[in-house]
Amino acid sequence: MDAIILQILNGLDKGSAYALIALGLTLIFGTLGVVNFAHGALFMIGAFCAVTLSRILTISHTIVDETQKDFLGNPLKVDVPYVYDWFGEATGNVIIDWAVPLSILFAIPVMILIGVIMERGLIKHFYKRPHADQILVTFGLAIVLQEVIKYFYGANPIPTPAPDAFRGSFDFGLMLGFDANQIIYPYWRLVYFAFAAVIIGAVFAFLQFTTFGMVVRAGMADRETVGLLGINIDKRFTIMFGLAAAVAGLAGVMYTPINSPNYHMGMDFLVLSFVVVVVGGMGSLPGAVLAGFLLGILESFASMGAVIDLLPGINQIIIYLVAIIILLTRPRGLMGRKGVMED
């Protein structure tokens, strides 16, 4: 029982990352009709926003410490971040410690800017082109983006820890009457889950309750009609793309403490997030979120030792297996609409 509760928790947490990425993908697909293979790259760039900010915060000047030696036996050079000089070491440390949450503020404008540039500079010209062309050009873009990041940041993962306050884990088991340590879950992952819930909620609220959102929803249902109404769709498309980029970027920022970011994390998520979107049903926002959580939970269950013993290798293929079964039984995914992406 406790094992099952734990894996459900786990699945929800894993699923929140999938759902966030799939949400952004679906926003772009649903409104713009573009299949964006560079979406994983946006997630990755978001993560590197956090890396960049923590590097900016630790920009240092060097002082030579005569009392210590470096590996060659020369006097040790010690880097002192400027924030120490400005705010004192204690406050400076707190600021550096909170680099990841601070990066949210940094990432939003950066990601929106990147999204807008991408849409204006490239994607815009592909609205009328076949889906295959869209896939291919964004795939090329994804390769370019990740190689650029690799050029500047190297291939090795870069640790970006969560603030000290969020280290360690919360014991759910005690709350539910189990023994200690039976159901524990890291604070930061709980934060991630809550964060994902807020973002998803915010996106839905935005679409539901604002005029802008109404137009966008109408556009998702029937693009041509909205265009005929004389509403400036182009501008809204650009904004939507910026928004989707920001959602992907934020998902990336908050993900950095969970796994040290590296240049290919986008590609790692890309295939998976497409599976999520397709399982959810192309173009359906609730479908994407639902499928994200569903696949997260199934993946978690498949990784239980008892399950693997029973079906060796099931943890390797569960996502794909589920995708195949769902696509064969529900041709348009869980909540897909008819006639989307079938040609």
């Binding site: 794909y320 041709p331 040609d343």
Partner: protein
């Protein structure tokens, strides 16, 4: 001749000349010159050109004709390789049974996957094929290690049974794949002044098979079957209401292209008897898509060109290191030399992926028809200069 129109015959002849003279064409620079870096006329790369050419030709029969974008085609290549290596391990080092088996196994495998995946179309089909291929990769890399060799790949061992040939060669080493005593790795060299040209048995064997595959592809393109496939891409609705059943057509195309992939996989194993699971990873499937698009979807020669370009970049551009760069720009003053190296360096050597991504984007954006379209545009430019007035508007020819 050969049941081909004059135009197709010309194309086949050009490809024939190109493949047969590849050792010359790919080695334009004399040994020892700074440009020798760009020579590609060594057996391994030449073999790769034609083998991936076969793979891309086959992929194009599915994607180019029917428009079904399979994102899992590498699985068939991998399965073909595994079958061939198993044949080497169990039966004989002769490449013929190995290749026959790899084509058959890949064919069976594609019947299974095709039958299921083709129940859906569009991106749903792509995701289904992707899912099958990823499953194959994941299992081959892990739980199927006894069958596939897992991480280290399936390779020959001294104690394999090899019923027909015996386990080890006379020298006590693992025997090498051959064709009735002709070893695939044998080469002959021709020296002309500073140039050295390599003629490799394996290459010519693969090249002949590639020519046969290419010829078969032309026949398929020009056949009623090929036209039906193009009709499927164009309008499935009309296809249905013309009394034609698209399903067996697409399945047949899928299986044919799966068998081409298996053939390529079997040949790869015949040239180099090791099969690694990475061959089946989704990026490998993506690579053949890139090849086809780069060259020109739905054209006959395009996929071969695309395969050549990508393999050239992978094997030649990636080997240029900073020292070689400094060598190139050595004639410049030091400051400018370092500057030039700094500019070029991100795009070569370990940066070859970046170059690939950029080239690919440029092609998709500006040349949706791939290199073939580029060639046609250039040809048209010349033609326009020659003949002042060319009044044949709208005469579009079937894909070539």
């Amino acid at each position: 001749m050969l049941g081909l129109s004059k135009k197709d015959l010309n194309l086949l002849f050009i490809v024939f000349v190109l493949t047969m003279c590849a050792p010359f064409i790919l080695n334009p620079f004399p040994e020892g010159s700074a440009m020798a870096q760009f020579n590609a006329g060594y057996p391994d790369l030449m073999q790769r050109f034609v083998i991936f050419g076969i793979f891309a030709i086959g992929f194009n029969i599915l994607f180019g004709l029917t428009g079904y974008l399979s994102f899992g085609h590498a699985a068939f290549l991998g399965v073909g390789s595994y079958s061939a290596v198993w044949m080497f391990k169990l039966l004989s080092m002769n490449v013929i049974p190995a290749i026959v088996l790899s084509v058959m196994v890949a064919g069976l495998f594609s019947v299974l996957i095709g039958y299921i995946s083709l129940r859906r179309s569009g991106i749903y089909f792509s995701i289904l094929t992707l899912a099958f291929a990823q499953m194959s990769f994941a299992l081959a890399y892990s739980v199927l290690t006894p069958v596939t060799g897992g991480e280290t790949g399936l390779q020959l061992a001294l104690n394999d049974p090899r019923i027909l040939d015996g386990a080890a060669s006379s020298a006590g080493n693992i025997p090498v794949p051959g064709l009735f005593g002709l070893e695939m790795r044998d080469s002959t060299f021709l020296r002309l002044g500073d140039w050295v040209f390599t003629f490799n048995v394996g290459y010519y064997f693969s090249a002949v098979i590639m020519l046969l595959s290419f010829y078969l592809a032309i026949r398929i393109f020009r056949s009623p079957f090929g036209m039906m496939l193009r009709a499927i891409k164009s309008n499935q609705q009309r296809m249905n209401y013309t009394g034609l059943n698209p399903k067996p057509y697409t399945l047949a195309a899928f299986v044919i292209s799966g068998m081409y992939a298996g053939l390529a996989g079997g040949l790869m194993a015949a040239m180099d008897p090791l099969a690694g699971a990475e061959r089946m990873f989704w990026t490998a499937s993506g690579e053949v898509v890139l090849m086809t698009i780069l060259g020109g979807v739905g054209t006959l020669i395009g996929p071969v060109l695309g395969a050549g370009l990508i393999k050239y970049m992978e094997n030649i551009i990636s080997k240029i290191n900073s020292e070689i760069l400094h060598g190139w720009f050595a004639f410049m003053p030091d400051g400018i030399e370092d500057f030039m190296v700094a500019i070029v360096y991100p795009f070569i050597g370990k940066g070859w992926h970046l170059t690939l991504g950029i080239v690919f984007m440029l092609v998709v954006i500006f040349l949706p028809g791939g290199l073939v379209e580029g060639g046609q545009r250039i040809a048209r430019m010349f033609r326009r200069k020659k003949t002042t007035q060319d009044n044949t508007p709208g005469t579009t020819e079937p894909a070539e």
